[in-house]
C-alpha cells in the first residue's frame, strides 16, 4: 500500500527514515526573569543570523526578523511581566501569554496571517527550552535521511546539517507556512498532511518521496533496491504511455525515422476548436490561450461562464495534459477597461504578466476560477511575456494565497513563456522558480528583429542568422537549466520550422491542431540526425537567403 500526503515542495528525495520528536520540557527552570530570558534568546538569534548570513536568502532573514520583533514586542513583555508579578512562574507566564496571542492570530480569517501562529509556536518553544537552561540536541546525521515529524520549526530546519536531509514528511504545515518556504529555498522535497501516518513510517528504512504528487514509498513497502533504479525509471515511462493510450483520442506522439520521440501538442485558441484538437492526434494541449475566451466574452464575461469553459475542457482532456496560459492581454489583444489605450508602444507596454501583476484582481480571478474548475488535479500554468524572475516570484506569492482556499489541490506547475530575447539568454535565472519553459517564436522574432509580427512577409524572419542563433541559445539555456522546453510558436507547425527545431534538440512541439497530421507524417519519415546536420549549417549561415536555400534543399 502506498501512502500519499499533500504535495509541499516538489522534487524526489531518497534517504533513511528518521523520526524527529521534540524532547518534552522539564520543570526545573534555571532562568527566572523575563528580561534575562529575552537577552539569552536575543543572543541565540544573533548567532543564528550570523550563521545564515552567507546564505543570502530573504526567507531565512525575514523568519528570524519576525521572531526577533515578536520577542522585543513591548505588549508581549508587559503581559509576561504582569503575569510574573501576579505570581506565575516564568514558563507558565510564557505559555499563557503565547496561548492568548496564538488564539488571537488564529482567529484572523486570512490564511497567510494566521500562519504566523507558527512563528509564535517556534519562538515559544525556544523560550521554554532556554528557560530551563537547556539546548535541544538535534540529531546528527552521517547519511542521507528523510525526516518525519508531526511538525518542524523553521529554526530547527536552519540548525540541522541540511546536506544530509533529502526530504521532509510533516504532519502539519500548509504550502505557505514558513517551514515549506524554507524547504523550498533549500530545495528539500516535502510532503505535508501526514499527521495520521508519519509516526508509522519505519525508522531506519530507505524511503523515497515525491513532493510533486505527495507519494511516499519505502523498502518494505515496495521501494526497489538502488540497483534497480534504472528499471523503475523505465517502467514509470511505460506507465505514462499506457495512461495516454487509455484516452483513445489522444495519440502516443511520433518517432523520427531514427527513433527519437517527439511530442506533438495542439495550440487551443477558442474552446469550439476542442474537437479539432482531439481529431488531430495531439498528445495534449501545449498552449491554451485563455485571453481569447475573455475577448470573446466581452467586458462583462462572468466568472461562472469562465468556469464552465474550463470544466468542459478538463472533462474532455485531463488537466494534466493541458498547459493553460494565463491571460495575455494588452498590445494587439486589448480588453476594454483594463488595458491602457494611451500607450505609445503597446507591444512594449503593460501587457502579459506585467498587466496581470498591475491588475492583480484579474490574475486572482483567473486562478480562482481555474482552481475551482480543476478539482483536485494538477494544473499547468504558463505565464506570458516573462522578463525576469521577480515577476514569477510575485505570481507564486499570489498562487499561494489563492490556493489556501483550496485544500488538497496540488500546487500547480508554473512555466514561463520565452518571448523576450533577454530572458531567452538567461533561462538559468528562472530555474528555481519555474517547472518548464515554452518558446513563443512569434513574439521572440518580433522582439528579436524589432519587426512587427503583423507585417506581411515576415514569416521567415526567424531564419535571420542572429535570430536563429537566439533560438539556439534559448534551447541550450533550457537544457543547461534542466528545464523542460516546448516550442509553441507557429514555427513549430511548419515543416522547415519543425525540422530546424528538432535539429536544435527540441522534443516538444505545440501547433495549430490542423497542422499536426502533416507534421506527424513528416517527422516519422525524417531522421533527427538529418535535422541536426541541417541545423549545424543554419547556425553557420550569414544571410537569410542562404538559410532558405539550405532549408529548401533539406525538406524536399
Amino acid at each position: 500500500m502506498r501512502f500519499t500526503g499533500i504535495p509541499g515542495v516538489s522534487g524526489i528525495g531518497e534517504g533513511e527514515i528518521i523520526h524527529f520528536l521534540r524532547s518534552s520540557y522539564q520543570d526545573n527552570t534555571t532562568v527566572t526573569s523575563w528580561e534575562e530570558l529575552v537577552a539569552i534568546a536575543g543572543k541565540e538569534f544573533s548567532e543564528l543570523q550570523c550563521e545564515v548570513k552567507n546564505g543570502g536568502d530573504d526567507d531565512w532573514h525575514s523568519i528570524i526578523n519576525i521572531q526577533v520583533e515578536i520577542l522585543n514586542d513591548p505588549a508581549l513583555s508587559e503581559e509576561i511581566s504582569t503575569s510574573i508579578q501576579k505570581g506565575s512562574a516564568l514558563p507558565d507566564a510564557v505559555r499563557s501569554v503565547f496561548a492568548f496571542w496564538k488564539e488571537r492570530l488564529q482567529s484572523i480569517p486570512d490564511g497567510y496571517l494566521s500562519e504566523r501562529v507558527q512563528d509564535l509556536k517556534d519562538l515559544e518553544e525556544r523560550l521554554l527550552r532556554l528557560a530551563k537552561g537547556g539546548k535541544i540536541s538535534l540529531p546528527v546525521f552521517d547519511r542521507h535521511v528523510i525526516l518525519a515529524a508531526s511538525e518542524l520549526f523553521p529554526s530547527e530546519l536552519l540548525q540541522f546539517d541540511r546536506r544530509w536531509i533529502r526530504g521532509l514528511v510533516l504532519g502539519s504545515g500548509s504550502i505557505s507556512s514558513h517551514i515549506v518556504l524554507l524547504a523550498k529555498a533549500f530545495r528539500i522535497p516535502t510532503v505535508l498532511g501526514a499527521a495520521d501516518f508519519w509516526a508509522e513510517l519505519p525508522e531506519g528504512e530507505r524511503m523515497r518521496l515525491d513532493g510533486s504528487n505527495g507519494e511516499i514509498v519505502w523498502a518494505s513497502n515496495g521501494l526497489p533496491d538502488a540497483g534497480q533504479e534504472l528499471h523503475v525509471q523505465h517502467q514509470t515511462n511505460e506507465v505514462s504511455v499506457k495512461a495516454v493510450d487509455s484516452q483513445p483520442c489522444l495519440s502516443r506522439g511520433v518517432y523520427t525515422a531514427d527513433g527519437i520521440k517527439i511530442k506533438l501538442l495542439a495550440n487551443l485558441d477558442i474552446i469550439d476548436d476542442l474537437h479539432k484538437v482531439k481529431e488531430s492526434g495531439a498528445q495534449g494541449v501545449g498552449l491554451f490561450r485563455t485571453e481569447f475566451i475573455y475577448l470573446a466574452g466581452g467586458a462583462d464575461f462572468s466568472e461562472e461562464d469562465e468556469l464552465e469553459i474550463y470544466k468542459d475542457l478538463f472533462s474532455e482532456i485531463s488537466s494534466e495534459k493541458v498547459v493553460v496560459r494565463l491571460l495575455d492581454l494588452g498590445s494587439d489583444k486589448p480588453w476594454p477597461g483594463v488595458t491602457l489605450t494611451t500607450e505609445a508602444n503597446p507591444a512594449l507596454g503593460i501587457r502579459g504578466i506585467r498587466l496581470l501583476l498591475k491588475e492583480r484582481w484579474l490574475l486572482e480571478r483567473q486562478l480562482r476560477v481555474l482552481f475551482r474548475a480543476v478539482g483536485k488535479k494538477q494544473l499547468s500554468l504558463l505565464l506570458p511575456m516573462v522578463g525576469n524572475v521577480s515577476e514569477i516570484k510575485a505570481v507564486h506569492e499570489i498562487i499561494n494565497i489563492i490556493l489556501q482556499k483550496f485544500p488538497g489541490l496540488p500546487y500547480p506547475k508554473v512555466g514561463a513563456m520565452v518571448e523576450i530575447p533577454a530572458i531567452a539568454m538567461a533561462l538559468d535565472s528562472l530555474k528555481s522558480d519555474v517547472d518548464f519553459v515554452s518558446l513563443g517564436t512569434n513574439d521572440l522574432t518580433q522582439y528579436g528583429m524589432a519587426l512587427d509580427r503583423a507585417l506581411p512577409g515576415t514569416g521567415d524572419a526567424w531564419l535571420e542568422p542572429g535570430m536563429f542563433r537566439l533560438l539556439e541559445q534559448g534551447v541550450k539555456g533550457a537544457r543547461h537549466a534542466k528545464l523542460p522546453l516546448s516550442v509553441c510558436g507557429e514555427l513549430a507547425g511548419t515543416i522547415p520550422g519543425a525540422m530546424a527545431l528538432i535539429g536544435l534538440g527540441v522534443r516538444k512541439l505545440s501547433m495549430t491542431p490542423t497542422q499536426i497530421p502533416a507534421i506527424h507524417d513528416f517527422i516519422s519519415k525524417t531522421k533527427a540526425e538529418e535535422c541536426r546536420t541541417l541545423t549545424k549549417k543554419l547556425l553557420k549561415s550569414i544571410n537569410k537567403a542562404d538559410s532558405l536555400a539550405l532549408l529548401l534543399a533539406a525538406s524536399l
Partner: protein, 86 residues
C-alpha cells in the same frame, strides 16, 4: 496627522511589512505611530498588535502619526503599507 492608506502589498500587513513598521518606529523615536482598522488600533511598536489587526491586501487603514518628524515618518509608513518599500 491622520490619513487613510490603501494596502498595496501582495499579502496584507503580515510579517515583513510589520517588521518594517516596527523598525520605522525605531528610526523615528519622536513620532508616535498608530495604525487603525475597523475601530481597532495598534501601536506600530508592537508587531503582534499590528498582525492582530488582520489587515489584508486592498484594505484601507488609517495611519495616525504625532510628533516632531511626522511628515517624513508618514511618507515612509505609506510606502511600507502600499508595498513600495521592501
Amino acid at each position: 496627522m491622520e490619513q487613510i492608506v490603501k494596502m498595496g502589498d501582495g499579502v496584507g500587513l503580515h510579517g515583513r511589512p510589520g517588521v518594517l513598521l516596527v523598525d520605522l518606529c525605531r528610526k523615528f523615536p519622536d513620532s508616535h505611530i498608530v495604525i487603525c482598522k475597523d475601530g481597532k488600533e495598534a501601536q506600530a511598536t508592537s508587531l503582534l498588535n499590528l498582525l492582530a489587526l488582520g489587515v489584508v491586501r486592498g484594505d484601507n487603514v488609517t495611519v495616525r502619526i504625532e510628533g516632531g518628524d511626522e511628515e517624513s515618518a508618514f511618507a515612509r509608513a505609506k510606502a511600507i503599507l502600499s508595498g513600495e518599500a521592501r
